[in-house]
Amino acid sequence: MEKIIEEARIVSRQLVRGQIFRLRLHAPNISGAARPGQFVMLRVCEGIDPLLRRPFSFSRVDAAEGDFEILYRVVGRGTLLLSRLLPGASLSLVGPLGNGFELPLTSSSPLAFLAGGIGLAPLLELIARVISERGQKGAGELRLFYGARTAEELLPEDLLCLPGLRIDFATDDGTFGYKGRITHMFEEAVAEGFGPSEIYSCGPLAMQYNVAKWALANKTMAQLSLESLIAWGLGACLGCALPAATPEDPGAERFVHVCEDGPIFSAGSIKWNKILSQQTVVPTFPFN
């Protein structure tokens, strides 16, 4: 797969809600090659602080127009600088990177999409792709379980409007939809008879862990889009490591790398009990 360095032009920038922005970029080469679940490394400024590029997944790809979109929440210096750029400005990109989602094996079986917070981003493009591949009428039962900490952090419905998709909302504080974890909401839906053949999930690591646990216990295929600090994105720095499960040798110490082996992993490929708490630290930027 050829990797592309491309200067992109900002087409539009929209504050969607709270600290969440939607950015549309014109980058024909990358848009033409992008698949759902893949990501781009984006340079938010020319200077040396922040020094490194930032990874963002494709939330929408419009290959015909040569555009793609990213959704991001302002959590640190990089995303803050990004949120200040105006349409017309140019940004350096490297991509598309990573493996991307495998599209569903069957053509009409029920599918579950689980999104936590800004983790919704890669799933939007995936769902759109599934619907366009299956055709609107025969898309089968597609359900999105979408949660955030509070109602203010949920994206407005016009962004989620995809034909044939049923959405269940959850918030940690109960300000909108189901009160509690998305995984609990999902489990209740299953108890009521929903039987997905595959699960696609993106969100905080704690949520991903619960999704993986459920998928493994219920022998359901799950593709998780995982995140990590990524310095480079092409496997040369080995920074974005996660402990890997090695079924044939459970004691083996082995790592997978989010940028190169992922960011999409099956539930069973990660050794969840070896992930350190530092990996789940939330950004502390608001304090600064």
């Binding site: 080995l238 350190l276 530092q278």
Partner: protein
């Protein structure tokens, strides 16, 4: 300076002599930031580089440190990868053929837990076609055994270099750590033990913590700082080392632009390695190379070699005594 002006319109000669090793230009990748070359081959022709220094190789494959392994800091980044690598056998079998066929000179960075392991690695790589030199890593801050443990002690450094020297006829580079009181002393020990070149610096031992979770940001607690933030430290080290030893010095540390690279050449480095900057701009080494060539043209240098170590440290007083007395008389 006038003796080396470009007489024809031809390209300036960018080739450099590194002891027994001649490279067509002074720009190479720094170990650990360029994988095994293949990772970057899609971005530019590797043959444009002076050499590729590959990720540190050990006798057996290493899994590396737990995550998180990297953290960004102002103007730099810290890493504690822990020398994750495929091991020497798989390097020779799976990684080296690609580099050999690409035609770029290959420098293998080697790392051992014991003095003997360094020697074994060197003899394993000695006969391999496509190898141009070995870089002895006695400076990794992120491993418990070997690495910086050797590089902070001149006698231990010398013992490692001697073991490698006895095992191979390949040109040897010794990569030094800045985390010592006197880097010159370690450099002299390495040179005395048979190292053909010195490269410096490896990363600076550093730390980052989070006040909310009250935890270190890296699983390894400490890591190595690299990037533009370390450049002034690196420049000072290269300056000191190039005056302490007779052998050529390779400058490393925060190089991200042609000017950065030229600064290292000016203080005495015969070549440079580019590390962290590869992560931000995958084609940065080509841009640095083109910038150096442009500089040579503008400065009228027929050959870059004449620029190396040409730092002028003499004291000049632009307002000489005569001028001062002139001003004095004007006042009075």
């Amino acid at each position: 300076m006038e003796q080396n002006t470009v007489t024809t319109n031809g390209c300036p000669d960018l080739s450099v002599q590194l002891g027994p090793l001649r490279l067509k230009n002074p720009v190479m990748s720094a170990s650990g930031t360029f994988g095994y070359g293949e990772e970057y081959a899609g971005f530019f022709d590797l043959r444009r580089l002076g050499a590729v220094v590959v990720k540190g190789i050990s006798l057996l494959p290493r899994a590396g440190n737990p995550a998180p392994r990297i953290v960004e800091t102002p103007g730099g980044m810290m890493n504690a990868i822990g020398l994750e690598n495929v091991g020497v056998e798989r390097f020779v079998r799976l990684k080296l053929p690609f580099l050999r066929e690409s035609g770029v000179p290959v420098i293998a960075n080697i790392f051992g837990n014991t003095v003997e392991e360094y020697g074994e690695l060197a003899s394993r790589l000695d006969g391999e076609p496509g190898m141009s030199a070995l870089e002895i890593n006695v400076s990794c801050p992120n491993v418990k055994k070997g690495g910086m443990v050797f590089g902070t002690d001149p006698a231990m450094t010398a013992a490692v270099v001697r073991a490698v020297r006895a095992a191979t006829t390949l040109p040897l580079v010794t990569k030094l750590t800045p985390n010592v009181t006197s880097i010159s002393e370690v450099a002299r020990a390495a040179e005395g033990a048979g190292s053909d070149m010195i490269s410096c610096i490896n990363t600076l031992a550093a730390m980052a913590v989070d006040v909310f979770s009250r935890r270190p940001r890296l699983a390894n607690l400490i890591g190595g700082l690299s990037g533009p933030a370390v450049k002034p430290v690196a420049l000072r080290c290269v300056y000191e080392v190039s005056r302490a030893v007779k052998c050529p010095v390779i400058g490393i540390g925060g190089i991200a632009s042609p000017t950065d690279a030229l600064e290292f050449l000016l203080v005495g480095a015969s070549a440079v390695q580019v590390g962290t900057a590869n992560f931000i701009n995958p084609a940065v080494m080509v841009e640095i190379l083109e910038g150096i060539e442009r500089f040579a043209r503008v400065e009228g240098l027929a050959e870059l070699q004449s620029f190396i170590g040409s730092l002028d440290t003499s004291c000049l007083f632009p307002f000489s005594e005569d001028a001062c007395s002139f001003i004095q008389s004007e006042i009075s």
